[in-house]
Symmetry: D2
Subunit: 307 residues, 4 copies
């Protein structure tokens, strides 16, 4: 949070069919629908999140991610970061308050890796879903499916990782928590954090710009991961891999797909970090274990199914 | 226990190198060495077992299983079962007390599926390892690796499943808990129990007689399954599959290999059964989900790596 | 199962108010209502049970247990056990089929400890709730509250434990798994099993006959025990103790109360047993640890709140 | 981290007997001894911590806490905070580098609540115990006892909570995550964070200054909490309460005592926070549930055993 960015705030995902997508994100994953807009977009949040939405679904001809946004502490910070971005040399676009319902103005830009990001300072504060601010119970009753706790991070594929690192670390104040280095010492994967989370965003080197690997949602425990895998089978949802553990971050994880082909991750636990921690390094020749700690080899889908 | 057979009592496994095998069964799996004999065989037990041993390792040129034994309630029962076996038409061989150290006489026979089994009534009672019979603590301190709780069951591949069923159910008093039926109604897999366990033994149809798929060891929880998978990676042990869940029995499981190529399973939980329960049926066309509930497809190794 | 008794089959509990009781047993504990009868009794079952009911609630002026029943393998066994009971010297009462809905005839008797028990061979087979017998999923969706898996056992207080032991072990075929002995060697608590369960029934010495301590329901995991404790708080249900572990059986447990003052237990895991296992002995002077393994002292309620 | 303070860095505890204390903190809790000094102090760390020590034990005639320290990002920050403290009006004492082995200079001050705190910027970086920075395994083998993950926070009792709040929030950059308010709206408990943790430090109103309630250590899971409670029984360690859950923070917890009478907490999970979250309020009249979520009442020890 060195530059005043708090956390990932939302992600807008393209889906081929909204109603099918809602079965995935609401009934299976357990997000809660909080609004819709005149463009037909549907706004969702996870129960522990205090702001109105963290996932926006919009119907499109192709799956993928439109943009991922980070919340900053206040308008002054937003103004400063906007200047810093322009000075860094990225083009900045302003989206007015209300363009996303109940969200303040957003500063949008494209990273060297080819992904669209946003910063914003304001979003309607709705509090945790199903939980009071006075004498709160441990968890809300009435959650569905996997009972996702929060939208956590995204993993992207793209090129120009070094320039992207420069932008995220030096301009936006992220810090490097983990990396994969090839034998020549090139960083082919970078995991970046704003907080104690092992990653708030991650990038993997890829020849094409702007590819989307997955959006990730936090679950509470390894037992919730099992229940999630069971639900994936019960609902005949396409599984990528899991339950298993990552080497990178050591999170316990499942990858699976929404009906449009976007990959969803649910994960639990994993390492905590502080900005004075040395970054963890994984060797590219051990990428299998770095990604899938138990199998110690990549499945074909890991490198190829991108939207 | 209709005919007086209590439980699986031991399994003798062939390994190519005893010392390498002990790293697997003692250091990794967490069994405890209790004795060796003049033939060089090593006797192991899991901590919660009250008898002296449940696994016997013997060095050989080929991996596989020599025999699996069941404990019966007393000598009178053993005499009766011996008669019943002969009457059923299998050849019975008597092994004298002491042939396995501290084990009473064993009645050995080969099932129609081509596997060697034994019955015995007596084995030295050593009590649980590290736990007193008075004011026992919840678990013993000082266990290694995966802290296996007990030798649980074996899965075998072979032919003549119907005759094998007849032997196990009608002569030995097992009951059918789960089965896989092909579209013609042929039973291509049968899971048999003596107790509340979803299986004390299981058979899958295979063109060759006498093949060994795995010996299985019980762990306490899904979290222990994760720790086991972590240890498999840390020790660079060949993993087959897991952590995952089976459809059949719904147990939580990992398959991995000992240094000789014998498959080991660790599993936890799963369904309980009683003899008045209807057997569960899985359709052969859904065998993938029946075996690996999350992946819903067999990996190649499931059908091919047999010893 | 030496004499053909399979398991605890049902318990009839007296409650002061049926609708309040249903909030407890259905909404909170997660049992499923399967029927009512003209006497106003309500029939409940847990999801994994294959027979139509395991708990019967009947309205009365005082809380407590009316009777606990065991299922036997067939009518021939029932006839034999009826003879054996009469020969042992207890008075036997026959209740006709249909007296409890969809349950066959019941043989009722009072143990020396002053508790009413029943044996029966037939009850309508309804299969597991929400789970098919072909290609069954791992667990049913739509369960409520604590998602109780099965009615598991009861703990009773009463006198004449030695005669009660004689009846249960020598006539009914239970075996002793755990006991508490006072310094003079008198058995002041006895835990008895029919199966691999550490107890299907238990008795603690008490000067008054026929007291009821608790009916116990199985949950799957320690995490389910936590969720159960959370639900107890969320619903403002009176807690007795827990989450904790018992010394006896080492089960993970919570005691809490229904609105009529009957104690309910939910528990998970704990030791497995076989009939050739030596019984475990706890010293009466360590009863605190035997009952509540972590606190190592009895709370006042343990000895006094009986119905 | 608004003012550059990263996290709790260490706590110095007074113990009556160092060797007895080491049995508690090393053998039972699972900390690792990293050094001793000429004053006889022993330095300990938890495995996931990257700096050389987080707990210092020193022999004394009375139990209690000498000081708790926070690490700041760099010397410039330390200089600034030192100025801010002096300006706020607390007396500041400088302790030279090396006064604690391998620790840089420390700025010490006493809070209005009567507790001694320190800030420091440098401590020898030793990395996680038993884990490499390249291709790190999921956890280190060879840990003892409860396998504590990190020193997490302290809870103190004292007066002048409002002034202490002012110091911690306005000078040191903590933010309020949870509070207990009495019917008049006075804050009688305040939980403060630097990070995503629900508390890095907490204070409860008490008529006496400078009392110590507990030092808390993080465990990974609810299952680790159970194992910790089991170990407390196995080692005959005095238990205060648990396993249970707190209302405040919703952490899963056990309180127990070291041989000198200092209270130790182990806990897992609980809520995460961000600085834009509204603080949670618990009503003083529901303090029982706020502290012990399941029991919903305080035990006597909670208010009285302070060192």
């Amino acid at each position: 949070m060195k530059k005043g960015i708090i956390r990932p705030g939302h992600v807008q995902l393209r889906v081929l069919d909204i109603e099918a997508a809602l079965k995935h994100y609401v009934d299976l994953l357990g997000l809660i629908e909080t609004d819709r807009d005149e463009q037909g977009r549907v706004y969702l949040k996870a129960w522990s999140e205090v702001d109105k939405f963290s996932v926006v679904l919009c119907e499109a001809d192709e799956p993928g991610m439109d943009f991922m946004a980070f919340k900053v502490v206040d308008e002054a910070t937003l103004i400063q970061l906007e200047k810093d971005l322009i000075e860094f040399g990225v083009e900045v676009k302003n989206l007015p308050a209300g363009d996303l319902k109940d969200c303040g103005r957003r500063v949008q830009f494209v990273s060297p890796s080819g992904h669209c990001f946003e910063l914003y300072a304001d979003k309607k504060y709705t509090g945790k879903w199903g939980i009071h601010e006075t004498n709160p119970e441990a968890w809300p009753r009435g959650l569905r499916g996997m009972k996702a706790v929060r939208f956590d991070h995204c993993l992207f594929y793209g090129d120009e990782l070094a320039a992207t690192y420069d932008l995220f670390v030096n301009v936006l104040g992220f810090f490097l928590t983990e990396q994969v280095l090839d034998p020549e010492g090139n960083r082919i994967a970078q995991f970046l954090s704003l907080s104690m989370k092992a990653h708030d965003i991650a990038f993997i080197q890829h020849e094409e710009k702007g590819k989307f690997h997955h959006a990730s949602f936090y679950l509470e425990t390894w037992e919730d991961i099992l229940r999630a895998a069971d639900l994936i089978s019960m609902t005949d949802t396409p599984l990528d891999i899991g339950p298993t553990r990552h080497g990178l971050t050591h999170g316990k994880t499942i990858y699976f797909f929404d009906p449009s082909g976007n990959r969803t991750e649910v994960f639990a636990d994993g390492d905590y970090v502080y900005p004075d921690h040395n970054p963890i390094t994984w060797k590219a020749e051990d990428l299998g274990k770095a990604i899938f700690y138990h199998d110690r080899e990549l499945n074909e889908r890991f490198l190829t199914v991108l939207t």
